[in-house]
């Protein structure tokens, strides 16, 4: 399995500000993803973090709102920009190694925007 460290684990932020979430993996991984879980809803894929290139965003998510970096094979960041209360969610990092049949997840970042 892969051990994923996600920081911060939770935060309360003012609207209009930005928060950067970090995801560190203990081994090199092929794929890294960012998911969002809004209250009472399922986990929804935000984007695939590509190493050395721009992230690939899913429908409904844009780079200006959720800029993502992935400078190497073990680290990625997700920024939630210009936050509003609607951004209050749990944000999860997920990784998938080439030979794995399933993904591994971080513990998530619980974000509250006030």
């Amino acid at each position: 399995s892969a051990v994923i460290s996600q920081k911060p684990s939770r935060d309360i932020c003012q609207r209009g500000t930005s928060l950067t979430i970090q995801c560190q993996v203990d081994s090199q991984v092929t794929m890294m993803f960012w998911y969002r879980q809004q209250p009472g809803q399922s986990l929804t894929l935000i984007a695939t973090a590509n190493q050395g290139s721009e992230a690939t965003y899913e429908s409904g998510f844009v780079i200006d709102k959720f800029p993502i970096s992935r400078p190497n094979l073990t680290f990625s960041t997700l920024t939630v920009s210009n936050m509003s209360p609607e951004d209050s969610s749990i944000y999860l990092c997920s990784v998938h190694r080439r030979l794995d049949t399933e993904a591994f997840f971080g513990q998530g970042t619980r974000l509250t925007v006030v």
Binding site: S42, L45, F105
Partner: protein, 113 residues
């Protein structure tokens, strides 16, 4: 549209009761199927998965799931639940080769001691 439906949002059972959580999916292609569990304060963990072969798959902690292709279902079962099974359970599908999950909304299970 691609989606996963979990029929029960909240389930409360007494210890030793049997459990069945429903999961149906809609996806235009070959899928891999998963059940994940999230215990209080912990990260999502894989409970079991189906890729091919025997449609009855066994996972950790006595859980099993049956893939019924004709019904697009992948229901989770456990004959006798324990208090430690209290958790949130997520059904998910992954399009073959995509590495991207589509999750259901989750089922919160509470087992009373």
């Amino acid at each position: 549209a691609q989606s996963v439906s979990q029929h029960n949002h909240h389930v409360i059972l007494s210890e030793a009761a049997s459990l069945e959580l429903g999961c149906n999916y809609s996806y235009g292609g070959t899928v891999n199927l998963f059940w994940y569990v999230q215990y209080p304060g912990q990260h999502l963990q894989l409970l079991l998965k189906y890729f091919s072969g025997d449609p009855l798959v066994k996972g950790i902690k006595g859980f099993e799931a049956e893939f019924i292709k004709s019904k697009f279902s992948f229901n989770l079962r456990k004959p006798s639940v324990q208090w430690s099974d209290t958790a949130e359970y997520f059904c998910a599908v992954m399009g073959f080769g995509t590495y991207k999950y589509i999750f259901g909304t989750g089922t919160r299970l509470k087992v009373l001691a």
